[in-house]
């Protein structure tokens, strides 16, 4: 909040208003599900859970949303659902990917990591590319975020400890706004963790919001860890995990995994049984996400 107030004050000093609000909205937007239709689940949970008995939203955030929606004329659950459905029809699906390779696969055996953000394109935000370096004033590790201005947290980044953070959408039915927004959480991770073990401990100290795949690369471990997440649940993966090896598409029964030693990657589905069970999109071998998973796998094989 201090940062938001500082951004607002700094921008106002040069005649720009609303910068803090814009950045705050970015934090909210980043926690939206990747499919706008799935936003219905989060919004209706936030807006209407607990309202049946009391007529009030269950959370302060929910009350704020209800008031805003009412002012805009959306004063019923049906109207909110209609609005989200209209948004869904106008927006692209959101699909990201991440990769880590190390050991015999890389020069000197050192871990190399990567991340794609596949999101709304052509919005004009490319005119506001930005790398931000943070030196926490009260201790913690210096870290850099790579992305755009108005993004307060980390779409991706790297710390002075050689810790890298990554994200890819994962549509899970267990979702909530009542957790640590991932953009800020990834920054918090870089600030407070030194390696994969401490990254896991820091992660487990707070709750997830909506479903996401996350990745953490570590120079100290020369390795990469994947986190498949949904509200109140995280599944941790290293390379060549047996859960990934035996995973199948629930509908067809066809295999969809292909883990390998000294590499780990994720697109927009998961391999933990609970994460698979709660997944809302197709896990077919021909789905976009499984196709890209296999594309990364083949690329890694081509480099062997």
């Amino acid at each position: 909040m201090d940062e938001l107030r500082g951004v607002e004050a700094g921008a106002q000093s040069i005649g720009v208003t609303g910068a803090g609000k814009c950045m705050s909205r970015g934090n909210v937007l980043a926690n939206f599900p990747g499919d706008m239709g799935d936003l219905l689940i989060v919004l209706t949970d936030e807006l209407y859970n607990g309202t049946k008995a009391t007529g009030e939203a269950a959370t302060p955030a929910g009350r704020m949303l209800l008031e805003s929606a009412a002012r805009a004329g959306f004063n019923s659950e049906a109207k909110v659902r209609g609005w989200v459905a209209k948004m869904a029809s106008q927006m692209q699906g959101h699909h990201c990917s991440m990769i880590g390779a190390w050991g015999p696969r890389t020069e000197g055996g050192r871990v190399l990591t990567g991340r794609n953000l596949d999101w709304e394109s052509r919005t004009g935000i490319d005119e506001h590319k930005l790398i931000v370096v943070y030196h926490p004033p009260e201790g913690g590790h210096a870290h850099a975020t790579i992305g755009f201005s108005t993004v307060q947290g980390a779409l991706t980044g790297m710390s002075s400890e050689g810790l890298t953070v990554h994200e890819a959408n994962l549509e899970e039915s267990s979702e909530t706004f009542r957790g640590f927004p991932w953009l800020l959480r990834l920054r918090y991770l870089m600030e407070h963790a030194e390696d994969l073990a401490s990254a896991r401990a820091v992660w487990e100290a707070t709750n997830n919001t909506v479903g996401f795949n996350h990745g953490v690369g570590s120079a100290k471990d020369q390795s990469f860890m994947a986190l498949e997440t949904e509200a109140w649940y995280t599944a941790y993966f290293g390379a060549n995990d047996p859960r990934e090896a035996k995973a199948v598409d629930p509908k067809s029964g066809k295999p969809i995994g292909g883990p390998m030693p000294n590499a780990l990657w994720r697109t927009n589905h998961g391999y933990d049984p609970k994460i698979q069970q709660d997944f809302m999109w197709s896990q077919s071998p021909t789905s976009n996400t499984v196709f890209r998973y296999m594309l990364i796998r083949q690329t890694l094989l081509d480099y062997e």
Binding site: H95, G108, R115, L117, I131, M158, S160, G217, S218
Partner: protein, 77 residues
């Protein structure tokens, strides 16, 4: 694999919009790759690319120039 190979592996899977994932052929309808970054964390170096161009001349990050930046002077001072 070296850092350039990891950049290549990352770029291949970025959603460029064309049918050929290996190609930056200028056909980017439906492309959504707005940011593509590779890291060499042991050396604190990054390779970062962003989407580029206005709507009519858009290119995905994976088909834009990757900036190689040594982050040590910024992270370790």
């Amino acid at each position: 694999m070296g850092p350039a190979d990891l950049v290549n592996a990352t770029a291949i899977v970025g959603q460029k919009g064309g049918k050929d994932w290996m190609s930056c052929d200028g056909v980017y309808d439906g492309g959504s790759n707005v940011l593509s970054v590779a890291f060499d964390p042991s050396n604190l170096e990054i390779y970062a690319a962003w989407e580029s161009g206005p709507k009519g001349n858009w290119a995905p990050a994976a088909c834009s120039d990757y900036l190689h930046i040594d982050m040590k002077p910024f992270l370790l001072h």
